[in-house]
């Protein structure tokens, strides 16, 4: 039985006075690939940021391997958990290599230089993400797809057990989208990396995730396998539209079709 890696208990999150999500309790087991879906403004990113200690919960708590993350040091957490934001960038120009080595920050003491082990970890992440040709480029010369790969590589250099991603392919074409999600699946299956990703695209979520967490109306609408969650009634209620769900003939996963013309009747 794989152990529970991350767990939330009666979590409420939001910004300042504004509560966005209430009473969220869910967990992710080791080796699992969990997708967070939901309509715009449902609090997908807020939940992910709370889970990675970027914002603190309004009430309730997030537990990493049984420990309350608000009591863990950030560096200790960063050695176990990495976060990739929606559109990461650098305000000043840095080379890809410099960005990548920032992923070793949680492991290095002040004044400690990167050692051979750190460079080896970097090289491994570079070959996994296939960005070997880019490492001497400046980050702002890259396309958004390449940039996203760089930030995924930087996250891998943190050697996390759990990877959190916020819509990693939001602005990418389907080619890059597939490349990134195939990579994530490979990391999940071969290296047993646990993944939580926020997703916009329901079909992508259905294809790749073991389980889906559907947020709607300020709480969890449903959590379960793609077959359980991507069910037409649940989706229609959450997104306030009309859909048809069919099986993808190749992957046998549920596929959500939208029906045009619903709002003009």
């Amino acid at each position: 039985m794989p152990e529970t890696l991350l767990e939330t208990k009666n979590l409420s999150c939001g910004y300042g006075e504004k509560i966005i999500l209430k009473d969220i309790s869910f967990g992710i087991k080791e080796g699992e690939f969990l997708g967070i879906i939901g309509p715009n403004g449902a609090g997908k990113s807020t939940l992910l940021k709370t889970a990675s200690k970027i914002i603190s919960p309004l009430s309730g708590a997030v537990y990493y391997q049984g420990e309350d993350i608000s009591k863990l040091r950030r560096k200790a957490l960063a050695r176990n958990m990495a976060y990739v934001s929606q559109e990461a960038q650098a305000w000043f120009s840095f080379s890809v290599l410099e960005i990548l080595m920032m992923g070793r920050y949680p492991f290095l003491k002040r004044l400690e230089a990167e050692g051979k082990a750190d460079w080896d970890i970097m090289k491994k992440a570079v070959s996994l993400t296939d960005i070997g040709e880019l490492i001497y480029n400046s980050l702002d010369e890259l396309s958004s797809g390449e940039r996203q790969l760089v930030f995924i590589a930087k996250a891998l250099i943190q050697e996390p057990k759990l990877l959190l991603l916020d819509e990693p392919t939001a602005h990418l074409d389907i080619g890059h989208e597939m490349k990134i999600f195939d990579l994530l699946r490979k990391l999940n299956r071969q290296y047993r990396l646990s993944i939580i990703t926020v997703l916009h695209d329901l079909n992508l979520a259905g294809q790749y995730c073991d389980r889906l967490l559907l947020l709607s109306g300020g709480g969890i609408k449903k959590i379960g396998t793609p077959e359980e969650v991507l069910e037409y009634k649940t989706i229609e209620e959450s997104y306030n539209t009309v859909v048809v769900v069919k099986e993808n003939p190749i992957s046998k996963k549920p596929h959500v079709f939208t029906i045009p013309g619903q709002f003009n009747k």
Partner: protein, 334 residues
């Protein structure tokens, strides 16, 4: 825009070495030029030897102040994620100046400890200024660039004018040549001032150097930095404090010398890249070189009149600021 020649680690050390060499050349040549020209043989004569020592002290001061202000500017830029930040533009220098002047009026009796009280009151003024500017610029939890620059300029102007007002009223109580001091002045009044500033700048710049990795990571933005394990709030506050201390130490003895913290870090960012463990020493060396050269110009340009050093740096820095503002408009205000 990666500089390929910097890929090699050796080249980085070489660059720092070259800058050290340039600095020593600048020091040597500047020591022999001035209102009185000194030849090597003169150092052994009594009168000229004293002039030579005074000049060396002045060069030391210029190096420390220039280096310190550049590193302070660099820290402000990296923390506020804004290439236009500088202790002068943010009003920190004016705050420091006002602090010193207020101390002069209130604490005449304490003047014996001026090597301590000057930087301390300047530090308090600087901290007050940066907090005020930050507070004014903050809207709904964010500090937009325009707000920051605007409130910096406004706070700086108000502080400078309050300062002039106080000087005007209490003219008789003031040390002579306060306006001269205000415009930036590198005269070493007492050698102990030099020691005090050396101590403060070394502590300040050394501390900043310890945080070069955090400064790199902060360029990725708040969220990324937090997720990488950087305690952003604590580190930002601490480094703002240190940058204000560095600025205050410079202002307390040398007045308000503007734009050094803008020109030097920007040039260094163009020349090198943005990795702070290289950028910080480079900025210190570059700032030292820049201010020594500017000071030599100030002394030599229209002899025998000495132009205030702050005027020289403003004449070079002002146009550069406008150029940067024009060029960065696209990026900054998107």
């Amino acid at each position: 825009m990666e500089k390929p020649w910097l890929k090699n680690k050796k080249n980085r050390f070489l660059l720092i070495l070259v800058m050290c060499l340039v600095l020593s050349m600048v020091i040597i040549s500047s020591a022999f030029f001035g209102a009185v020209s000194i030849s090597l043989g003169d150092i052994f004569g009594n009168i000229n030897r004293n002039i030579f020592y005074l000049r060396l002290q002045r060069i030391m001061l210029a190096a420390l102040v220039g280096g310190g202000l550049s590193v302070a500017g660099l820290v402000f830029q990296s923390i506020l994620r804004n290439p236009l930040a500088d202790p002068y533009i943010l009003g920190v220098s004016s705050g420091g100046g006002l602090g010193v002047v207020i101390m002069m009026i209130l604490g005449m009796g304490l003047l014996r400890f001026d090597a301590l009280t000057f930087p301390l009151s300047s530090f308090l003024g600087s901290i007050f200024a940066i907090l005020l500017v930050y507070r004014l610029a903050r809207v709904e939890g964010r500090t937009p660039v325009q707000n920051l620059l605007l409130s910096g300029v406004i706070v700086g102007t108000i502080f400078t004018n309050v300062l002039v007002f106080i000087v005007w009223i209490f003219e008789d109580k003031m040390a002579k040549g306060i306006i001269w001091w205000l415009l930036g002045n590198l005269d070493v009044i007492e050698p102990r001032f030099l020691l005090s500033i050396l101590f403060l700048e070394v502590i300040g710049v050394g501390t900043v150097l310890l945080f070069s990795r955090e400064l790199d990571i902060l360029s990725l933005g708040e969220e990324e930095a937090l997720a990488l394990g950087v305690e952003t709030e604590r580190i930002k506050k601490f480094l703002l404090l240190i940058a204000s201390l560095i600025t205050a130490a410079a202002v307390s003895f040398c007045g308000i010398i503007g734009f050094v913290g803008l020109i030097v870090p920007h040039t260094m960012r163009l020349l090198l890249n943005n990795e702070h463990r290289l950028l910080i020493p480079a900025c210190f060396l570059g700032g030292a070189i820049f201010l020594i050269v500017s000071d030599t110009f100030a002394r030599k340009l229209i002899m025998p009149v000495e132009i205030p050093i702050g005027v020289i740096t403003a004449l070079i820095g002002g146009p550069m600021f406008i150029y940067l503002l024009q060029r960065k408009k696209k990026i900054l205000f998107k």
